[in-house]
């Protein structure tokens, strides 16, 4: 009788990582649909291209690192990284820009740091920040103008050709400054009412963008409902933006109003899908609140007084830096202890 020897617990009921990642990908579908409906095929093409490239570069680097390729590809984490880049890059970003972003995300930010679970920085945001700094023109002039799929958006073939062509001369007609960009640069000389005349803002908050953000919000709420993420990071993230906006930028003739901060740019995608990457985020609930709030504050500061119209990538990366520090000082209070053991061993009640 050969009895199996196994350490406890013998029962398990876990959602495997691959399924968690699959849920994350599925939760972005509403956002992707909204992007496609309101801005054309650009994001969808980007997503497919980035995911394919992410899987490809992951396979290559795993091979180089002599790791089992199928085992790691099946965890779906590389696909998520590619997906997030595809969702956040400009719709008409040339193929090589998104390519560089994906490859640096997977190869440098993820695998060179030790692969899944060992990367201190959010890989997708490393890729994004890298191309944003390296190719500022390509990253700012390639945002599609809000034009619905059924009225005005360039067709699939045209979009595909634009993204993968060597020169991008014909696209000016389809692109437009993002609402955050527009508001930031015009409000210095115009009143809020005048700025909002620009077609990028539309009738509600920011044409197209508002629906994209609401769709990502919906997908994010599903993730919370499925207990794949906790509420702490998104709530602190959005709450911090709201507090900053109300405290410092309530005058719409000087600063972008709160609804624009929340419903334009990458706010909701960042709050629910990017900042919540568990590998590079803080661990305890208290830590997550600080981490999320830190990102929100930085986003507001950079958007308002910095050089960039949006700032999710930089803010997330800066707070990634702070995670070990945050984790040191925000352990939970363990049962049977009067207070949490903060700091490092040997100090502060160690």
């Amino acid at each position: 009788m050969a009895l199996v020897q196994q350490t406890s617990p013998h029962a398990r009921n876990a959602r495997p990582t691959s399924r968690v990642m699959l849920w994350v990908m599925l939760a972005t579908v509403p956002g992707l649909i909204a992007q496609t409906l309101f801005f054309g095929w650009g994001n969808l093409i980007n997503v497919v291209w980035c995911v394919a490239l992410a899987l490809g570069s992951e396979a290559v680097i795993l091979k180089l690192r002599d790791k089992p390729i199928a085992f790691f590809l099946k965890d779906n984490t590389a696909a998520v990284t590619g997906l997030l880049l595809g969702l956040s890059l400009p719709q008409f970003a040339p193929w090589w820009v998104s390519g560089i972003a994906v490859i640096s995300a997977i190869v440098v930010a993820k695998q060179l740091y030790g692969g899944l679970g060992s990367n201190p920085f959010n890989p997708a945001m490393v890729g994004y920040a890298l191309v944003l700094i390296s190719f500022p023109v390509a990253m700012t002039t390639n945002w599609a103008q809000p034009a619905t799929l059924w009225a005005g958006a360039p067709g699939f073939g045209e979009t595909l050709a634009t993204i993968f062509s060597a020169s991008q001369t014909s696209i000016d007609a389809w692109t437009m400054a993002t609402p955050l960009d527009e508001y930031k640069h015009k409000i210095a000389t115009f009143t809020a009412a005048e700025v909002l005349q620009h077609p990028t803002f539309g009738d509600l908050v920011a044409r197209g963008w508002e629906w994209v953000n609401l769709a990502f919000l919906a997908g994010g709420l599903v993730l919370i409902w499925l207990r794949i993420i906790t509420w702490h990071i998104p709530v602190a993230f959005l709450g911090a933006i709201a507090v900053m906006s109300l405290a410092f930028g309530s005058n719409a003739d000087q600063y972008a109003p709160l609804q624009l901060h929340l419903l334009a740019g990458g706010t909701m995608l960042g709050a629910f899908f990017i900042a919540t990457d568990p590998v590079s985020a803080a661990t305890s609930h208290q830590g997550k609140l600080i981490y999320g709030a830190g990102i929100g504050v930085l986003i507001y500061l950079i958007r308002t007084w910095g050089n960039y119209p949006d700032a999710v990538a930089f803010s997330v990366l800066l707070l990634n830096f702070a995670v070990p520090f945050i984790d040191h000082y925000t352990p939970p209070r363990t049962y049977g202890h009067h207070k949490a053991r903060r700091g490092v061993p040997g100090k502060n009640g160690g």
Partner: protein, 609 residues
Amino acid sequence: MTQLWDFAGGVHPAENKHQSTSRPIRRAGIPERLILPLQQHIGTPAEAIVSIGDRVLKGQKIAEVTTGIGVPVHAPTSGTIEAIEQRQVPHPSGMADWCIILKPDGEDQWGERNPASDYHQLGRDEVLDRIRNAGISGMGGAGFPTDIKLRPPRDRKVETLILNGAECEPYITADDMTMRELADEVVAGMKVMAWILRPSRCVVGIEDNKPEAIEAMRKAVQGTQIEIAVVPTKYPSGGEKQLVQILTGLEVPSGGIPADIGVMCQNVGTAVAVSRAIFEGIPLISRVFTISGDAVQEPGNFDVLIGTPVSDLLAAAGLQADKLNRLVLGGPMMGYTLTTDQIPVIKTSNCVIAATRAELPAPPPEQPCIRCGECAEVCPMELLPQQLFWYSKATEFEKAEHLNLFDCIECGACSYVCPSSIPLVQYYRFAKGEIRTQRAEQLKSDRARERFEARQARLEREQQEKELRRKERAKAAAEAQAQKQAEAEQTVSQGDAVDNRDAKAALVQQALERKKAKAAQATESTQQPPTKPAEKPDIEALEKQLTQAEAKLNTMQTMLDDAKTQQADNVDKLERAVAKNHDRVVRARDALAQAHKLAGTESSPQLSE
């Protein structure tokens, strides 16, 4: 309605309890051999008080603990002691330990019994003694001697007595069935414990997935002040710390026991054992034991004699050997796998799961931790399991300890939910084991260092004493030399005082000597620790020293006077020399006075200026 509190985290594993509750408790009967480990409790192992070949009666004490903490072992039935030898005992490591092997004679003949009709008459100490002599140790798993637990320190008054009937582990139904069928004995045992402890509150905690047990217990406590608290089903509500929190809202301090906050937990089975010991005079020789799992055809609970091999019980429950893949002693969350079914049921065993491969499948391969935090969400101790995992894996034990590794109760909730199927608990066990080993080694090396340092200090002291004796001999020799020289100089200066060159040469010579003497003095004062009065001061030597110094001072004074009268250019030099010599005389006098004091002669020589 009893007020309840919630505890952090927790999981809801598939209960799998119905399989073993559909049949009443069956008698397992008398097996061919009984294997009775000498250590079935926490503390000192018992020592056999029978010999091979002895015939023993049912309930007869066959092993006793004479020194240290522990409880005796009794013969579960009448028979012959066949052997006292090493046998594999219930332990995660599969280790062997000393066991008494009893061959039953089938007569089941009782020995002497001493039931108490009214235990109130006996007095608390007598009741506690009977509990101890009945061999009762906690039957929930830890096996701490019950009589000692029932004697909390005087400053730890137990206000709340909790009977733990939560039984939160899947599969196990021993306590459930005990409460269903033996509720009166449970309550009677609890009353005895309450009488000993005099708590202000008695409460039985039962998970709400045991309606029959709750019903039976409610009936049994009618007319008493014992509360029945129905707690929500959530693993690990039956963990002592968690149940205390659920029922009292208090937390057991880290490293402490419930008695620190005025609470005591006892197990349902322990209460039955106490009841039997007091009212029927029956020692702890049997217990209710669950056999479950898909590899047995008739899972259920058995009234099992302590020492019955698991194999007998599996056979009684209809084991299908071809289906058996894993034997788990305990529950699926905290139990451990057995390497053989030839191990006995002991006082702390409560369940064996004969699992098929499909029932408890092997975990998928471990993936990297993505710090998703699921584990922290379910940790009932509010630890950071993912951080503990990193530190344990990286053998950064100091950091793991800092994050309260030792508060981990190894309930397995973290591993249960880990999406990367990391055997987290195993990492914590590893880290705890390593830390304990390191501590033991630290202690050992500390002792070794202390011994070494003591030896070094002794050798050094001996060396110093030797050196000192050598110095003293050298000094005495130098002084003798100096005196000779001084005498010679005196003659020279008297004979040829006007010869400046001679005088100068003499001065140089004297200066050199002074230096030498001073150096000697300096080394003496550093070499000779002032706190060592054991050294007997050599008064004679000091007196000699003083005389010499005085003689030298006189010489110098004369030389100075001469030089002054002759208006020589070395007057100031000589003046300094005289001052120095004067100091030396004073020092010598002081030393002498000190020496006299030490020698006990209270005489201080007069200063003659």
